[in-house]
């Protein structure tokens, strides 16, 4: 399975982790390319998140999913990004939009709390798609070691509720973009 993905060698591999909407993932790969100038492809395999489910909370442990994605990575691609529809939590926190390995290759994001309908609004594919892109760039930023930023509009601004995501853009500010590019270049050199 992973060999096929290795062969088409994108920079970012997007893995469905119980994610019903493949069109959304395809769109994400296009948007990631446009935003970060890195190629992204949807994996030919899926990861079921059932092993990470915590029954008492009805939620899924994002750190466990992250560890599993890390185990299944190949190189290339440089990064592996899980996208899931289930609600994620990190131990001690009631929920997270996503999680990433600082300076590592793996990240995961959830669409669960990005959907307007969770807050009683009309479903809106455009809003969902944009929020998913912003959060994906954000988590990928963490994989490059970026911490939260305070520059207005930068994707690395920390956000804890969905409307906050709409206040920032999918792009990295100049400083974050520079770090991101430099680190990516360095890692590519280290692991050709």
């Amino acid at each position: 399975m992973a060999d096929g993905d290795r062969a088409n060698g994108g920079d970012i591999l997007v893995v469905p982790v119980d994610c019903a909407n493949l069109a959304l993932l395809q769109r994400l790969t296009t948007d990631l390319h446009a935003t970060l100038a890195r190629t992204a492809t949807v994996a030919s395999w899926e990861l079921s998140p059932q092993f990470a489910r915590e029954a008492a909370r009805g939620q899924y442990n994002s750190s466990m999913i992250l560890a599993e994605l890390f185990k299944r990575r190949t190189n290339p691609p440089m990064r592996i990004l899980g996208v899931t529809d289930v609600d994620l939590f990190a131990p001690v926190l009631t929920y997270v939009f996503g999680e990433a390995q600082m300076h590592g290759p793996a990240a995961v994001v959830s669409t669960f709390r990005l959907r307007p309908e969770l807050y009683g609004l009309d479903p809106d594919p455009e809003i969902l798609s944009r929020r998913l892109l912003v959060e994906s760039v954000h988590e990928l930023g963490h994989t490059a070691g970026l911490t939260h930023c305070h520059t207005p509009g930068c994707a690395m601004i920390g956000s804890t509720y969905a409307e906050e995501i709409d206040l920032k853009g999918p792009r990295l500010c100049e400083r974050c973009g520079e770090v991101f590019g430099a680190i990516w270049f360095e890692q590519r050199r280290d692991h050709p």
Binding site: R57, G58, Q59, S63, D87, F89, A90, P91, V92, L93, T94, Y95, V96, M102, E117, L118, Y119, G120, P123, H142, T147, H148, G158, T160, Y161
Partner: protein, 447 residues
């Protein structure tokens, strides 16, 4: 202010808490170190000072409380936050009395945590600049808390705490602007359903057909424009809570539908014929006199009893005198921070105006008034002129005031504004000085 200038120490015996919390703070850009027990924490503190210390109250060996007392003698100016399981909030309260700044319960709401930490960091920055801290509001942090110290609001908080963990159906009564949705959210947040969504539905603002499709969802092609199958709010609330706002406004048909859903916990999407099951708690709210509506037949009695299992009344702001200034100060800090305007407090006559106003629009009106004052006023103090309120409260509603009392009130106001200068006051009032003197004497006005 750069987060990297702030150091955080996390003391917890559970590795998962240290890792998870530590990672969260590192992502925020703070310098983070961890310790697994009191001894390790003291070792770290021997090396350096920390700005913030997160302390698990329950650890084997040295307890959190004991460690906190030690910290106070070593790292005297550290801001200490207690981490506790829900069960040991009492101990946390003890820690607060002992000088801890706040406490958080596990699992932690990330939104709450980020606001708390931002607040603590800001407070430290203020202290460092030797600015007077006016914002020491006891027992209130984060968004969504129900603010106030009046007996009425304390009773309300007690009621919420009592009813929240049980799955009881709740009816919230109160004038508009009193924050009924906030209370519904507080109940949801204190319930075992808190990990699932709370779905608010405004029953007042929608037509019958629209409300029906919002509530129950619809199948593809159920009506023109229904291109996709769509889940309704009741379905989305599965496992969580539905909040029916303005429940007093729903039509007879929807009342009947709701009654059926409440009894069976089952319904059909519009245009569908497979029953959908959903498990939700119901909280509703109204500012109408439902009992009168039942008596007049416009609200079903059976539905009324189903919804009105536990009733909570939210007092209007005018019955919470003690809270007005407290809330005003809270909103001022909030908007001053978010708009980056350096307001620190209210001028005495502005405080008086706040106390005197009747607040027919309740907390919402107060919040709007303060927000506006932050926009139009000149820092650092909000003056009475910046507040969009008039008509002091002791005069009562304008529509039952006699002409004479309006005259007295008006003269009194003008005199106050002119600081007792009769000549200027007379000019403003458009009468001569002698007439004004006579009126002052007649109405026994101070000047």
């Amino acid at each position: 202010m750069d987060h990297k200038d702030y150091s955080i120490l996390i003391v917890d015996d559970e590795p998962i808490v240290r890792d998870s919390l530590g990672k969260w703070f590192s992502e925020e850009g703070y310098l983070v170190e961890t310790a697994c027990d009191g001894g390790a924490a003291l070792d770290r503190l021997a090396q350096r000072n920390y700005d913030l210390i997160f302390l698990d109250i329950k650890m084997p060996g040295m307890s959190g409380l004991e460690l906190q007392r030690k910290i106070r003698t070593i790292n005297t100016d550290a801001t200490v936050v207690i981490i506790t399981a829900f069960a040991s909030v009492d101990t946390a309260v003890e820690a607060l009395k002992d000088g801890a700044h706040d406490y958080i319960t596990k699992p932690i709401d990330p939104d709450y945590l980020s606001h708390l930490v931002e607040k603590l960091v800001r407070q430290r920055a203020l202290v460092a600049e030797n600015v007077e801290l006016k914002e020491r509001l006891v027992g209130m942090t984060g968004r969504g808390s129900i603010l106030g110290e009046s007996p009425a609001i304390q009773k309300l908080r007690d009621m919420i705490a009592t009813v929240a963990p049980n799955d009881t159906t709740v009816m919230i009564r109160g004038e508009s602007g009193t924050g009924k949705e906030l209370i519904a959210r507080a109940i949801h947040a204190g319930s075992p359903r808190r990990y699932r969504p709370i779905v608010p539905i405004n029953c007042g603002g929608l037509s019958e057909t629209l409300l029906e499709s919002e509530l129950f969802g619809h199948e593809r092609g159920a009506f023109t424009g229904a291109q996709f199958r769509r889940k309704g709010h009741l379905e989305m609330a599965d496992g969580g809570t539905v909040f029916f706002d303005e429940i007093g406004n729903v039509s007879a048909k929807i009342q009947m539908d709701l009654l059926r859903v409440i009894e069976s916990r089952e319904f059909f999407r519009v245009g569908g014929n497979t029953p959908v099951k959903s498990d939700f708690r119901i909280i509703s709210a109204t500012n109408r006199d439902l009992e009168a509506a039942v008596a007049s037949g416009s609200f079903r009695e059976d539905l009324y009893y189903r919804l009105n299992v536990f009733s909570i009344s939210v007092p209007p702001l005018r019955e919470r005198d003690e809270d007005v200034v407290l809330l005003a100060q809270h909103f001022l800090s909030k908007y001053a921070a978010s708009m980056n305007r350096e307001f620190t407090g209210f001028a005495p006559e502005a405080l008086e105006a706040l106390r005197q106003h009747r607040w027919p629009g309740n907390v919402r009106e107060l919040e709007n008034a303060i927000e506006r004052a932050v926009v139009v006023g000149t820092p650092p103090t909000v003056s009475a002129a910046n507040l969009p309120i008039s008509a002091p409260r002791e005069e009562g509603p304008v529509d039952n005031m006699s002409l004479e009392s309006v005259e007295v009130a008006h003269i009194r106001r003008v005199l106050e504004k002119c600081e007792g200068n009769v000549m200027r006051a007379a000019r403003t009032l458009g009468i001569d000085r002698v007439t004004l003197y006579n009126k002052i004497k007649k109405f026994n006005l101070p000047r």
